[in-house]
Structure formats: C-alpha cells, structure tokens
C-alpha cells in the first residue's frame, strides 16, 4: 500500500473515528470511506438532499486533522473559478508600465523590449489559484470537497478529469503541477443529472440513503442530546411513516434533526397528533405534501 498518509487503518477504524466526530456511519459508508483513503481514489457520494453527504467530507477532515478545501459547484462555473486564473488586470498594468519605461529609454530595438514583458507576466506572481489548484498544491493533508457536482455544466466535468485521475493540473504557460500530497477527494451529487461515465469511472461510488429507524434515532439523539428518549422514538416513527408516503420531497435526516430541535425549543414532551400538525412545516415543505400527510396520518379527522 502507498507510503503517503493513510487516512483510516481499517473500515472499523473509519467507523469508530467518524463516530467520534459525531458522524454515525453504517458499514458500507465506513468501508467506502476507508477505501477512498486506502486506494487514493476520489469518492463520489450520491443521494437525496439532507442525508449527510457534505457532512461526511467535513467529518473526514475533522477526524484526520486535515484542512477542508471546498469547491461549491453551480451552473456557469468555469475554469477561472474552479482551477486557476491569470490576474489580467495586474498583467495589463505590467505591460503598460513596461511600455512607458521603454519609451523613456527611447530608441532600443522593439523586439527585445516586447520579449521582456512576455516572459515575466506568466509567473507565479500573476497566478490566482482557485480551489482545485489550491488543494493540489498544499503540502499538508487536505480534504477536497467538490460539492453538488451535478449542478455544473458538462464541460466542467472534463476539467475535473485530469485532477481526479492523476491529481495534476496543466497550465499551458507554466507546465504541469502535480500533487505534492494526494488530497482526499469527495464529490457530492443530488443526481439531478447523470454524471458522465468518465467521471464515474475514476471515482468510488457511495449511495447514501435515508437510514433505518434504529440508526436515525441514534443520529437524532446524538445531535440533540437533550431530547427525551420517548419523544425521539415517536419522532423517528413518524418520519419513517412520512417517508413511506408518496411525497414530492421526503423528510431528510437534517429535517428530522431540525424537528427534534423544534420540539425541544417548544418544550413538547409528547408528539401527539396536535403537536405533529402544529410543527409539520418543519419537515414537509410542499403544500401538497402536507395535505397528503394530514390525510394519511388522519391528523384532522
């Protein structure tokens, strides 16, 4: 196995250390998180919103004492925002000042002067590094989080390929920058768009789904320790029931934790029908979903 830093020793170690950072991972998640470190391959995490995809990257950074470099993807993201950019305003000033000084020295040969600035404006001094290049060049352990990669345009995926497979960035004017130390790369996606085969091939894949009732209760009680055990059980049962319904947006883990906090803040000691009706807005955010839940759970009979 590689000599560079091992992120986790075994899958069990991954599970234990992630749990220590407040991230309760199931067997598959822990195994995949371990593999991503051991094989030094990027990890593509897919799943519905709010099941802890981004949180996984943060937890890995926390437990290994690595710095988190985050690239938030959005529509219209381009090379200049993701990889690197030349500081052209500064370059323009350099050219202008060079031509001014050339006029001052008057009749030197033109070609020589022109080459003078051509060399000097493509150096480190004028390079603005963006998240991907930053993560590659860092000497310390780094977790690179490429968040919501499905929001970008297809062209950006092409841009990611070189980074994901070889951990290097080619800048035409400077040459190839290779990773001093391979970062732990996590890509997250809501699967609103199918990613290209090329990206998927280079990644390990993990699908995070809603957890089973037992794990969800552990998560809720670990995030909101003050919540009574009984209320937590009622809450998880209701959430499980809601997810079985045909909803536009099923409640996520993040929303069950929010709900737990709400119940705590309102000092509701028993999650009965009235309490559910009053706080349903915390977990269901479509009018049609709420109407359906009220009908199915027979809240206002």
């Amino acid at each position: 196995m590689p000599s560079s830093p091992t992120w986790f020793a075994t899958p069990a170690d991954a599970a234990a250390r992630l749990a220590g950072a407040g991230y309760l991972a199931d067997g598959a998640t822990a195994t995949t998180a371990y593999l991503a470190g051991a094989l030094e391959k990027p990890l593509l995490v897919e799943g519905p919103a709010g099941v802890g995809k981004t949180e996984l990257a943060k937890a890995v950074a926390r437990v290994s004492g690595a710095e988190l470099v985050r690239l938030q993807c959005y529509e219209g993201l381009d090379e200049a925002r993701a990889l690197y950019e030349w500081n052209y305003k500064k370059q323009l000033l350099r050219i202008q000042s060079a031509s001014v000084s050339r006029e001052a020295t008057a009749t030197t040969t033109r070609a020589g002067a022109a080459e003078g600035w051509d060399e000097s404006i493509f150096t480190e001094e004028f390079l603005l590094t963006r998240p991907l290049l930053t993560a590659i060049r860092r000497e310390e352990p780094t977790v690179l989080l490429i968040d919501e990669v499905d929001k970008t345009d297809v062209e950006v995926e092409g841009l990611l390929l070189e980074v994901l497979s070889d951990f290097q960035v080619t800048i035409p004017e400077l040459g190839t920058v290779s990773a001093a130390r391979r970062p732990y790369v996590v890509l997250t996606s809501n699967a609103t768009r199918e990613l290209s085969e090329a990206v998927k091939r280079r990644c390990l894949y993990l699908h995070l789904d809603y957890p089973d009732a037992e794990r969800e209760r552990e998560i809720v009680t670990s995030q909101v320790p003050d919540l009574e055990e009984r209320v937590a059980a009622q809450l998880v049962a209701t959430i499980t029931r809601l997810r079985e319904l045909d909803l536009k947006k099923a409640p996520s883990i993040a929303e069950s934790v929010d709900w737990a906090r709400t119940l705590l803040a309102l000092e509701i000691g028993d999650l009965d029908d009235a309490a559910i009706t009053a706080t349903l807005g915390v977990v269901l955010k479509h009018a049609s979903d709420q109407a359906r839940a009220v009908k199915e759970l027979r809240l206002r009979a």
Partner: protein
C-alpha cells in the same frame, strides 16, 4: 473455480445484466479487495459495490448477482449440520417433511416474524427451502429446489393475523401494525426466494441462475411486462425523472441563451480595462416553448404506458407553453382538467382510470374512429405552434384506419410523433397497423422509463 475465475464470472454476469463495468473498474475492485479483510461478507459486498456500481438503479441487480456468486453459505450450512448431529442419527433427514413438522415449523416462522428477529428469519428461510422446497428425483436440467412449492406449503401470508395480534399486543396502532406485518412477510418471502436461488446456483453453477433469475433494473423494465409492484415503483420514479429532465432542459436552454453580441454593453465594460474588450456581452435569446397536444390510447393493453407518459408530461408542464391531453379507445375524451398543479399523482391516476369510460363507446379500440372524432370535436387544439404526440400500440382491431385524417392532423401541427410501447419486432404483427401509421407520422419505440425520458426531453 478459483477466486479469480469467480471474480471474472461475476463481472461477466454484471455486464450481461446491462451494467457497464470497465476494465479500469475491474482492476479497482481487485485493489479494493486486497485492501479489505475477507472475513466479513458485508465488507466484501461494500467493496465491490463502491468500485463497480455507479448508479443506484443498478443496485438491486448487483445485490441479486452478488448473492448468487458469493452465497451466504453452502448447502444447509454449518448450523444445520450441528443441529442434525445433536438430534440424534435416528430421525435426522427421515421425518423432515410431514403435516406435524409443517405445523411446528409454521409456529416457528410466526414467532420469528412477530418478534422481527432478522437473524432467525434468515436461518428459517434456509431451513424452509431445505425441508419443504426440495423436489428430489427430477430429471437432469430441472432444478430440484423450488421457492414456489415451499411458499405454497408454509404459506407465510396466512400468518398475518398472528403477527398482527403480537404487534398489537406490543401497543402499536392498528394500521401501523398491519403495514409492519405486511412488510415483514414480504421481506421473509424475498429471503426464501433468495435462498432457493442460492441452492440452485450451487447445483447448476451461478451463470445459469444469473441468466434466468435476475430482473432488469426498473428504468429498463418494459411497461408491458411490468407487474403490479413494478408499476407502483415506476410511478414513484416519475417525479425524480421529471426533476432530472427539468434540470437538464433548463441547463441546455441556458447554454443556448447567448444571443448576438451586445455591442453597447461590451464597449461599456471594456472601459474598466482601458478600452480592451476582455469580456464580451451578449443579448439574451427569446426562449421558445412548444405547445403540446397528447392523444393517448387508454385501452387495457397500453393503459399503463399512457398514464406514465401523461404524468411525466404534466410533471414537466412548465417546460411547455401549454399542454392539452386527450384519451381515446374508440371515442375521444379531454382529460386536461384532471392535471391541476400540485395534484397528487395517485389521485390523478385514479381519476384517469375512472374517466376511461368516457373514452369508449363500445369498448373496442378503434384508432380510425377516434381520429375522426378528434378532428370533428377538437380540431382547434392543433395549430402551427403545437406538437402532436400520439401514444398507442396502433392495434386497431382491423377497423378502418382513416389514414387521411391522421395526415390532415399531422399537417396542421408543427411536428407529430407516435410513441409505441411495443418492441419493434412486434410491429405489424396481428392487427398492428404500426407500419401504415408510421408512414404518416414518424413512429418511435418507447418501452421503458429511460426511453420515455429521452423522448420527452427531445420534445421540450
């Protein structure tokens, strides 16, 4: 079979089931397995899944094949062997299957189901196939284990009441207990079927089972071959599919949004860089949206297909200027009104099914008559901006096809398409008029959700 052989056979089976597993992923899987301990089956499964499965819809296929190629145990396993020895040599094997044994076994199953003891259920499923699913003495080439026989004899579904009583005693609400009982019996049935597959695989080699027992992923399943449970699952896939399509369409529209150069803004912006136009600015393009007229056959054979297509089209409503929908069997009925924004898909489906009666006069599919009626009553629906979409299998019970009417309808619309849920090789067989209609209106095969998604995407 060595480990490498088995690994390669497993990958071949995955490819055979329609998953694209590249050589690079193959090598990744090997590297992952080398980094993992082999003592836990779940870990090995997770390692394989992380490196080979890159799409969640393929996961059920993967799991089924993994169980076949890397079975949980061989034969009756170590536990059963130990139990037999402790029973004493006398009755082991001999009195394994009689009425008394069956009753005792059913008690055990009911107990385990009521307690929800997963581990016990796994073991009971294996025992059930061993005792009640065996069909010894069958000819070569026929499998000697049957989940069907075992399930018929033990009949776990008839245990519902006992489980229900136990769950109610735990203090659960009536309907909640009923759902839970149904869920447990369902998962136990799946366990039994899985165990039968495992035994058959052991006997005849995994490749045989991989070929016959694994169903295609839900988005590749034919509409016409879908069972009731599959239809339910498909319906749940419609909204996520619509969301994916909408995102894709919006992105593509945005990519094409850049219109001609906006000279004024470009020059203005260049002022900040000393008159050098580093960034160009463009005028926005006017978006173009299609008006859609959907005409669908809702007779029994293709009703599901029509409903899915209508739901998908309506979920994407804001991508179209206007959508009007009509259903027909031998008469035309407008159903645009059933699709209100934010309506529940389940209710819409129920309303649609109820309204089928309006679309039929005699109840026998007649495309010709439906087209004539459509032209008589709703000719105004079609205009130079609208696209006509016809859904159906073009099986018209040998009646008059009225090709001239279809020609006129297609002529008055901007575009016209015909989506046929049948496999291309069934076209023009029996009473299908696919070829003749296809000459007037371009006909496309649309058999599963993936194809449907692509077609609807191209429409918008």
């Amino acid at each position: 079979m060595s480990l490498v052989d088995r690994h390669i056979a497993f990958l071949e089976a995955l490819r055979g089931a329609g998953m694209s597993v590249s050589l690079a992923e193959d090598l990744d899987a090997i590297r992952a397995l080398r980094a993992l301990e082999w003592d836990d089956r779940a870990t090995v499964r997770a390692g394989y899944a992380a490196t080979l499965v890159k799409k969640q819809s393929q996961r059920p296929t993967f799991d089924a094949l993994f169980d076949v190629y890397f079975p949980r145990m061989v034969g009756d396993g170590a536990a059963a062997l130990a139990a037999q020895e402790s029973d004493g040599a006398g009755d082991a094997g001999a009195v394994r299957d009689n009425a008394e044994a069956l009753a005792a076994f059913r008690d055990q199953v009911a107990e385990a189901l009521a307690e929800g003891d997963e581990q016990a259920l796994v073991e009971l499923a294996a025992e059930m196939i061993a005792r009640f699913g065996a069909m010894p003495g069958r000819g070569p080439g026929l499998s000697s284990w049957s989940a069907y026989t075992a399930l018929q004899r033990v009949a776990p579904a008839e245990l519902t009441d006992r489980i229900l009583a136990a769950l109610l005693a735990e203090g659960r609400a009536e309907d909640q207990a009923r759902r839970e009982a149904a869920r447990r019996i369902g998962s136990f049935t799946a366990l039994v079927e899985g165990d039968a597959r495992r035994r058959i695989a052991e006997e005849k080699g995994p490749d045989h089972v991989a070929n016959v027992a694994v169903r295609p992923a839900i988005d590749r399943l034919d509409f016409t071959a879908a069972r009731k449970a599959d239809l339910e699952e498909m319906r749940r896939e419609i909204y996520p599919l619509a969301r994916r399509l909408a995102t894709r369409l919006t992105q593509e529209h945005h990519a094409r949004r850049r219109g001609p150069l906006d000279f004024r803004r470009t020059v203005r912006a260049s002022m900040s860089t000393g008159g050098v136009p580093l960034v160009t600015h463009h005028k926005p393009k006017r978006p173009h949206r299609t008006e859609l007229v959907v005409l669908c056959d809702v007779s029994g054979s293709v009703a599901n297909f029509a409903q899915f297509t209508l739901l998908l089209v309506y979920a994407l409503r804001d991508q179209f200027e206007k959508v009007r929908a009509f259903t027909f069997i031998d008469h035309v009925h407008e159903v645009t009104g059933y699709f209100t924004p934010g309506a529940d898909p389940g209710d819409v489906m129920a309303d649609l099914a109820a309204s089928t009666a309006y679309a039929a006069l005699w109840g026998r599919t007649n495309y010709g008559r439906a087209l004539v009626k459509f032209e008589e009553q709703y000719a105004d629906a079609l205009g130079p901006k609208s696209s006509l979409l016809i859904l159906g299998d073009a099986r018209s019970n040998y009646s008059d096809l009225h090709l001239d009417v279809l020609k006129r309808l297609a002529g008055s619309a901007r575009h016209a398409w015909w989506l046929n849920p049948e496999h291309r090789r069934h076209w023009d067989t029996g009473d299908s008029a696919a070829g003749r209609y296809g000459e007037v209106v371009p006909m496309v095969e649309c058999r599963n959700l993936t194809q449907l998604g692509e077609l609807v995407h191209d429409l918008a």
